[in-house]
């Protein structure tokens, strides 16, 4: 039997993040920690999360394992727990048990063959910006009712996020001094579906800054970190929207 103990707040956030793209996901466990990769059914968005074993207060693994988990059920299970609680996860054969204080909630693991681990596409860009998540959130919220896509543009001096429809427009402009870091030799721009970005940023609650990398009409990569000592790290990938 394997036993893992971690903070409820962290596990909740992980479940919320996965749930922005899937309802079922495969957790890969080895001696270094847990890694999860999931792609949404329309293959527009993908997420990968690495949780090193240092994040856990207890990490005793019987063997390397792959667990297919119903993410929505996991979320409901966690509803009874307070963010400040710790949760112990016990894995035995095809069952998984969650101990939250005096409550023990057991569920069957899903059939491992029915849930696949996606490959991560080869997406690289030397154009990136590191910014406060809070600032980006404001731009997304302002754009939400305007259009279903948002156009990101980056130059050496500023970052912009703009949405427009026939009658409305919304634009977030962040000059260089409001950005944490910029790497951009020549200006780049690309559009993305806004709904996915909003779902993702809403789920990523305890992260303060993240890195956006993209180039012209190319997938967006959002690198993020959160949890105790920012130990949990991950990336969110989003396919571009082609301009009309």
């Amino acid at each position: 039997m394997s036993r893992l103990t971690l903070s409820v707040k962290n596990l909740k956030e992980i479940a919320d993040l996965l749930n922005t793209v899937v309802t079922e996901a495969k957790f890969k466990l080895d001696q270094t920690g847990i890694s999860i990769k999931a792609v949404d059914p329309s293959h527009v968005a993908m997420i990968s999360i690495d949780i090193p074993k240092e994040l856990f207060t207890e990490y005793s693994l019987e063997k390397d394992d792959e667990l297919a988990i119903d993410v929505e059920k996991l979320k409901t299970t966690l509803k009874v727990a307070r963010d400040s609680d710790e949760i112990t996860v016990k894995i035995e054969k095809d069952k998984i048990a969650f101990e939250i204080g005096a409550v023990i909630r057991t569920m069957n693991l899903l059939d491992g063959n029915a849930v696949s681990i996606p490959r991560i596409p080869k997406i690289t860009s030397e154009f990136y910006v590191v910014l406060a998540k809070q600032e980006f959130d404001k731009g997304l919220r302002a754009a939400e009712d305007v259009s279903d896509s948002i156009k990101l543009s980056l130059s050496a001096t500023e970052f912009k996020a703009k949405s427009s429809s026939e009658t409305e427009e919304s634009e977030l402009i962040l000059p260089k001094d409001l950005l944490k870091e910029v790497s951009c030799e020549s200006p780049v721009k690309s559009s993305y579906p806004i709904e996915y970005l909003i779902k993702f940023t809403r789920a990523l609650q305890s992260c303060e800054e993240f890195k956006l990398s993209f180039r012209d009409d190319y997938p967006l990569t959002v690198d993020f970190r959160f949890g105790k000592d920012s130990l949990i790290n991950g990336a969110f990938y989003l396919a571009p929207r082609m301009e009309e």
Binding site: P41, S42, V44, P121, K122, P219, Y237
Partner: protein, 414 residues
């Protein structure tokens, strides 16, 4: 009992045509139908109807939640099941069909929608009659003659005949249907699950919607009568929701399947292509067709849903769900998912509302035909451009699925 047309037909035209050529441009001959119906009407005794109900019932919506419930029957006995079998109507001549459906005579009685939670004898009789899998003898005593009452033509429900207030009804023996009865007597089963249980046992959605309309489904305390117009779409939507949920787990089709079905006054088209489930239903109404009687240009309208479905009711109406049911059946039979672009052109001579069954059955029939296969959406659309009367660019610019296919997925970046 005159059958009204929305415009005056010059008598010279009728004299030249005498039902033979439909010179008036209608898809049926009003004179011939009126004659048939009048003959039938003369056979009906004053104040009473008796016959074999297929079984058939209509639930009105005016006055909701106090509405009228109309059990109905044609004035003939024997196997009348074809009166309520949409799958057999497609091959029928339009006049024959109208003549048949318009002779379904109705006796109406006021009921409250919530009566279904504890039905009185009358409502119970109607519910049990509706469950029957074979025609049921019915005798209805009416308050007045049917003469002068209106026919029922609607874009949702199939046409039905005239009605009069119902005083008393006697119902003969019914043929029991074990699945339908089980669902009826199971007062813990949710209405949606009840509908899908019936569908899985090969009961057609038109019958399911009738069973739903008389308040025979759902949690006992919450059972309600549902106006026919709403129950038809509720059944199409609920059953296709289950089907769509299943097909989302299936692999996508590999290439584009293109279907075309041309029937009197209508062109139906379908493109099924690779990708995750996305669906759209489009209609182009030519000036002079039912819902574009006064316009001078073709009206094109498309409603769609992405993988996660819709949150609002489609403006385009009930046909959205009846054709969604047809395509979900096609994909499930194939064991494949995909994107679906379904379009329909309605020409000027199609000017009578028949009900959404017309779309459902035509789409089902279309999907039974052999598709043409193409490698790309462009090639599929190019093929259709030779058949459509609406300029293909008009279709393409309105098509949501077509523009969504232009957006790349992450798969392109491996």
């Amino acid at each position: 009992m005159p059958l009204k047309t929305t415009f005056k037909i010059p008598p010279e035209l009728c004299l030249k045509c005498r039902t033979a050529k439909l010179l008036c441009g209608l898809s049926y001959c009003p004179i011939s139908i009126s004659n048939h119906l009048d003959r039938k009407a003369n056979l009906i005794p004053r104040n009473g109807i008796s016959g074999s109900s297929p079984p058939s019932v209509f639930v009105g919506r005016y006055g909701y939640p106090k509405i009228q419930l109309y059990p109905s029957t044609p004035p003939e006995t024997g196997d009348t099941s074809i009166y309520e079998a949409p799958s057999q109507w497609l091959t029928m001549d339009m006049e024959k069909f109208l003549e048949m459906r318009l002779s379904l005579l109705r006796g109406g009685k006021f009921v409250s929608i919530s009566d279904a939670s504890s039905p009185n004898y009358f409502l119970q009789d109607v519910q049990v009659m509706t469950l029957s899998s074979a025609p049921v003898e019915v005798e209805m005593k009416l308050d007045r003659t049917l003469t002068g009452s209106r026919y029922l033509l609607s874009e949702y429900s199939p046409p039905m005949g005239p009605s009069a207030p119902l005083l008393e009804m006697k119902v003969g023996t019914t043929k029991s249907d074990p699945v339908a009865e089980k669902v009826y007597y199971d007062t813990d089963l949710k209405a949606a699950e009840g509908m899908y249980t019936l569908y899985k046992s090969n009961i057609d959605v038109s019958r399911i919607s009738r069973i739903l309309s008389v308040g025979s489904l759902g949690n006992g305390k919450n059972r309600k009568l549902v106006p026919t117009r709403w129950s038809i779409t509720a059944a199409d939507k609920t059953v296709s929701d289950f089907n769509v949920k299943m097909l989302k787990h299936m692999p996508s089709v590999d290439d584009f399947h293109v279907f075309v079905r041309s029937v009197s006054g209508n062109l139906f088209m379908g493109i099924i292509g690779p990708g995750s489930w996305r669906y759209e239903w489009g209609e182009a109404w030519f000036p002079g067709s039912t819902w574009n009687s006064f316009g001078d240009r073709t009206a094109v309208m498309i409603d769609h849903e992405d993988y996660y479905g819709r949150k609002t009711y489609p403006d385009i109406g009930g046909c959205y769900y009846s054709s969604r049911l047809a395509v979900s059946e096609y994909m499930n039979n194939l064991g494949r998912s995909g994107v679906a672009l379904l379009w329909r052109e309605i020409y000027p001579n199609f000017n009578i509302p028949l009900g959404v069954w017309y779309v459902r059955e035509n789409m089902r029939e279309m999907f039974r035909s052999k598709p043409l296969h193409f490698d790309t959406l462009d090639a599929s659309i190019a093929y259709l451009s030779r058949i459509t009367k609406v300029p293909i660019e008009r279709w393409r610019s309105e098509s949501w699925v077509s523009s969504s296919l232009k957006n790349p997925t992450l798969d392109r970046f491996y």
